[in-house]
């Protein structure tokens, strides 16, 4: 049994095969693999007896359930109004310059993906971003590079 198989089996024995558990199971895979591959979707479909099209339909609806490969750290920068007003574009530029990839892309070492997202709910401390589940607020072009440098240098 490969890693993926074990992961899916583990999640299914934790949550069960009822349709209500599909979202937690998909989330569990994304936690480990950062995205949902076609293979994984087929495995889940088979194990839960839900048509693959339905599994994919659910997965592709949610912006946090990525269906294409992502880096180990997914950076999501809030682009909604207050963060935009408080300098989101400069933050994005600083990140792009530091990681040498554009928004929507993944670094060659597969460590980072840069994405934009809708309101994160930190408007009073804008601009804000998520790195996986971790929140960072009151960003500046300087402190955002410091934050990412720590992730980059981590082994």
């Amino acid at each position: 049994m490969d890693f993926q198989e074990k992961l899916v089996q583990g999640l299914i024995s934790k949550y069960g095969t009822d349709r209500e558990n599909l979202l937690p199971i998909l989330q569990g895979v994304v936690d480990q693999e950062r995205f949902l591959s076609e293979d994984v979707i087929l495995k889940i479909s088979k194990a839960m007896a839900i048509p693959a099209a339905h599994v994919y339909g659910t997965a592709s609806f949610y912006s946090f359930l990525d269906t294409e490969p992502r880096g180990k750290y997914v950076i999501r920068i809030c682009k909604t109004i207050t963060c935009s007003m408080k300098g989101k574009n400069q933050i994005l530029l600083a990140i792009e310059n530091f990681l040498k990839v554009k928004v929507g892309e993944t670094t060659i070492d597969k460590k980072f993906t840069i994405l934009q997202t809708n309101c994160l709910g930190w408007c009073h401390k804008a601009p804000a971003m998520l790195v996986n589940d971790e929140v960072y607020t009151e960003l500046t072009p300087e402190n955002v590079v410091d934050i990412l440098r720590e992730y980059k240098e981590e082994k």
Binding site: D18, R19, E20, N21, L22, L23, P24, L26, Q27, I50, H54, G57, T58, F61, Y62, S63, F64, L65, K79, T80, I81, T82, S84, M85, T117, N118, C119, L120, G121, W122, C123, H124, K125, A126, L130, D133, E134, V135
Partner: protein, 395 residues
């Protein structure tokens, strides 16, 4: 403009720490169901997520249902731009929210509850789980058969719409259902469900503790009680504030503005933009007062000063709606795309300015024909911005 600072009265009910949660709950649970329902109805509490449905009535309708399985759901899918109060409430006074759920469970007969927490707030889960475990122990002591679980969202604004939230919990795409039937008879897994916003549940705790009258004493006719506001944008003091309902936008701006306020967005992207000339005539609450208009809100107050382009603001909102539309119904899916394309074309001079009127008509059509609140409410910000700042859309 005058610079005298007038401060609105700060209320301290929601966040006030309360050590005697167990006693309050014991007392509340010992009351007959009808008494609790009466208290909730008399308080005048209306849903604090933004829609403003009377909470007592919701509880009553679900309690009256003969179905065996029922659910209580706390809607913590706080996604409206400019709103962040529910996260604060859940992290600072989770026991009040849980107590509100438990009392609701007692009167409706629900044995299972969920907190649908938006994926963006996943970092809250460990702390919240600890609180839930502690709370379950209290419930065991008090002899109430009720359990609460966290269900995590995955980044979809529309799932804050109650029927889309049920779909999401059922492992499906978060596409809103037709209404009726309403959740009180047909909610999660097609069972009667009470679904309340985080703040609404916390207020219900306050009402059960102090009685309906204390709550009614705050606010104005039809808009009773206090409300937690999320204040952001061009303000020297952004943050969370609990204020009485019924204030005018002028009072609000005098307190929170930076002296150069041009407009205030009340209720987030799906709410209304209030321009300076209407500050004094607009109140924050649920129903129309005798003069002027009154705007309901989930508590999002975004302040814009004169350095902000209202075109950029509208462009940002439409980009948001276009992405967050679930795509199920055509008026919303295509409407949001066309509105965004349309204002960009007018700005670039590719369409005549009269095209803005066509777009206004499109939002009216969306209001009438879209399946849920998302598509229906795009007209709110669109028309209030285009009507009041037409020249900024063009030049």
């Amino acid at each position: 403009m005058t610079t005298t600072k007038k401060q609105l009265h700060r209320i301290d009910l929601i966040f006030k720490n309360d050590e005697d949660c167990k006693e309050i709950l014991r007392k509340a649970l010992s009351k007959p169901n009808q008494e609790i329902i009466n208290e909730m109805v008399n308080s005048g509490l209306k849903g604090r997520g933004g829609a403003g449905f009377p909470t007592g009535l919701k509880w009553k309708l679900t309690a009256e249902s003969k179905e065996k399985d029922k659910y209580v759901i706390c809607n913590a899918d706080e996604g409206e731009p400019g709103t962040f109060k529910d996260r604060e409430i859940l992290s600072r006074v989770p026991h009040k929210v849980l107590s509100g759920m438990a009392v609701c469970a007692k009167i409706t007969g629900a044995r299972k509850g969920f907190i649908y927490l938006r994926g963006e707030y996943k970092f809250l889960v460990p702390e919240l789980k600890k609180e839930i475990r502690k709370f379950h122990d209290i419930l065991d002591d008090l002899g109430l058969d009720f359990r609460v679980e966290i269900f995590l969202g995955s980044g979809a604004y529309i799932c804050g719409e109650e029927s889309a939230l049920f779909e999401s919990m059922e492992g499906k795409r978060g596409e809103p259902r037709n209404k009726p039937p309403f959740p009180t008879e047909c909610g999660y897994l097609n069972k009667p469900t009470v679904i309340n916003n985080v703040e609404t549940l916390a207020h219900s705790y306050t009402i059960l503790k102090f009685g309906a009258q204390k709550f009614r004493d705050l606010g104005v006719k039809d808009s009773r009680g206090s409300k937690v506001f999320s204040v952001s944008g061009d303000t020297p003091i952004p943050g969370i504030y609990e204020l009485e309902l019924g204030m005018t936008v002028q009072d609000f701006v005098d307190d929170f503005g930076d002296g150069d306020t041009k407009a205030v967005q009340v209720g987030g992207a799906s709410g209304f933009l209030v321009p300076r000339k209407r500050f004094a005539k607009t109140t924050i609450g649920y129903q129309g007062k005798l003069t002027g208009i009154s705007l309901p809100t989930g508590g999002s107050m975004m302040i814009f000063n004169s350095s902000r382009s209202m075109y950029n603001v509208l462009n940002n909102y439409l980009d948001f709606f276009e992405e967050e539309s679930c795509g199920q119904c055509t008026p919303c899916r295509v409407g949001c795309q066309q509105l965004l394309k349309g204002i960009r074309a007018v700005k670039r001079g590719e369409k005549p300015t009269s095209y803005l009127d066509k777009l206004m008509k499109l939002t009216e059509t969306m209001k009438l024909t879209a399946k849920c609140g998302l598509g229906q409410s795009v007209a709110n910000s669109f028309s209030s911005i285009v009507e009041n700042f037409r020249e900024e859309m063009i030049y």
